[in-house]
Symmetry: C2
Subunit: 337 residues, 2 copies
């Protein structure tokens, strides 16, 4: 797509043609002052937004346009899923330079729209602006049965702590990219976790449907930090056995080559976009939950009265140095150790 | 607010404390993976997003932080209002440099949150990111009685064309800023229309409540262009008597000083954020509508069978050269004449 030829309205029309919108849910998609959603009775709507900025969240030297398009939606699907909601649609604010590479623009939209289709989350609106650098802000609206959302404040003493998939891969991938790139198929898989996360975005809604959980959060800032949010908001203590935390495949070898601690990456590294959820014993074992959710599930600890996040290894306290990613903090606080 | 001290979570917490959320509408605001909206039966929800980028949409040399905060929400309230909807809440993506001026950040949030409060559109979520330049993307969700939204496709032959307020002020203000700034109180008012638009964001909902209109659009790209959207989507022709178009106060004098055509600014200049709406004769006169909507209303033309936008002056065709603002087009096409 050549922007100089298309202009803003041409670009919007090209996107509109490629967005496939379910008219039972959306009375109106792209093409008016706003999109119109037909709200259904007995549902709550969830709304979330997440942004990616060129040079801050991604670099063209280490990502491809299709992955970037998919990631910009995926990180929001992760948030909506962590509320136990099904995505209904998304809005895209896209800022690109006037002389943008048409292949970048095409690839970006292809990646975003393909995931939008696969996740039944059509692009229903947005804003395209000129900008000296790429900036992407996606808002997703989703639906959850009234009063049944998974909340950070929903964890209760006695709940078991579960996490989907595996951890540490995305931050190992980032470390590999910043140190010369991956050197094996196994390391390339870790890099792929960083540039193209695949959150289990249907798992949260499955938990709500089966009434198995009231609390969840996605692992975006790092397990320690995200667990801290839940402990704080729920007024409870979270106890984690670090030996049970599922390490990403290939993480140990890659961390060893890089001189990093794989466990620190798994506990404090961000951007894994797995689902961390909390469920009472009656919800069943991790194996049973895994079958119900259609993805790997691991039990890593328990919620108790008290406060804070407590890691233990072999029965002793395990002290974690880093506390995950924060924007605006001095660079050293966010760098890998 | 000093970002280096606060960090990302400190900033979010500071914003959260200042956002005043109505718990009857929002089950949850800032503080989880997503906000939760309690959808009501018999309503449609509208969603829109609009972005401002430093150096493209604003410059710190010509705006102040409070105005910028208000404008970033106002342009979205304008879209929601033009759907005939009442705003329910907003999400803010805010990208600022790590060393951002605390006064800029404070002022921006004060301006946005003050208008959020005045318009009953609380800040219920968002994303704060580090960025080399300021970037602001606001998403607003609103509510309108089911099936009653004002659409671009809703104009019918015989409808009268009405516009609120006055036109051309914002683009005259922009021209003044680019040519040394305003030189009188009257010119300062035009500049204020550019840096701090005040859309009549309740007028659209009032039209829907009184069942007076089915079609509307906000004047953001310029009257000619926005009217063209309605003519296209409704499959009708729009006939405007340019002598009736309400020129902004002080526009003629300022345009004369700048060597510009005031009528061209009023017809093709963008960013006035007035409401353009369409109503059958039974809706009453402009004076009656003005009383009902609580703002100035002018009848400027009529919808007929056919296509396109047709301007006339003294009974003859009036030809307009420019066609309003488009991003990504060569600069000359967007510059004032």
């Amino acid at each position: 797509m050549d922007l100089a030829t298309l202009g803003e309205f041409g670009l919007i029309e090209a996107i509109r043609r490629r967005a496939r919108v379910d008219r039972r849910v959306w009375r109106l998609g792209i093409g008016d002052d706003a999109a119109i959603l037909r709200a259904r009775p007995r549902e709550d709507l969830v709304l979330t937004t997440d942004a990616l900025v060129e040079g801050v969240h991604f670099r063209w030297s280490t990502t491809d346009a299709v992955s970037l398009g998919a990631k910009s939606l995926a990180v929001n699907l992760s948030d909506v899923g962590a509320m136990g909601a099904n995505a209904l649609g998304c809005l895209l604010t896209l800022g690109v330079p006037p002389g943008v590479d048409p292949a970048h623009l095409d690839g970006f939209l292809a990646g975003l729209l393909r995931l939008a289709h696969a996740s039944h989350c059509p692009l229903i609106g947005g804003d395209t602006v000129s900008s000296p650098l790429w900036l992407i802000s996606v808002t997703v609206v989703g639906s959850v049965a009234r009063g049944r959302a998974l909340l950070r404040s929903g964890a209760r003493p006695g709940d078991r702590i579960f996490v989907t998939g595996e951890l540490g891969g995305a931050s190992a991938g980032l470390a590999l990219l910043s140190r010369g790139g991956p050197s094996s198929a196994s390391e390339r898989r870790l890099v792929a976790r960083q540039i193209r996360p695949r959150p289990p975005f249907r798992a949260g809604a499955a938990l709500v449907r089966a009434r198995l959980s009231r609390a969840g959060i996605d692992v975006s800032d790092g397990l320690a930090q995200d667990l801290g949010h839940v402990a704080n908001e729920s007024g409870v203590a979270a106890h984690v056995d670090v030996a049970r935390v599922p390490l990403a495949r290939g993480l140990t070898a890659a961390a060893s080559r890089l001189g990093l601690d794989p466990l620190a990456l798994a506990l404090a590294g961000g951007e894994d976009y797995e689902l961390l959820f909390f469920a009472p014993p009656r919800a069943g074992t991790a194996a049973a939950l895994s079958r119900k959710l259609g993805c790997r599930v691991t039990e890593i600890g328990v919620i108790a009265r008290g406060s804070g996040v407590h890691f233990a290894r072999d029965g002793s306290d395990y002290r974690l140095e880093s506390a995950g990613f924060q924007h605006f903090k001095p660079a050293r606080a966010n760098s890998e150790k």
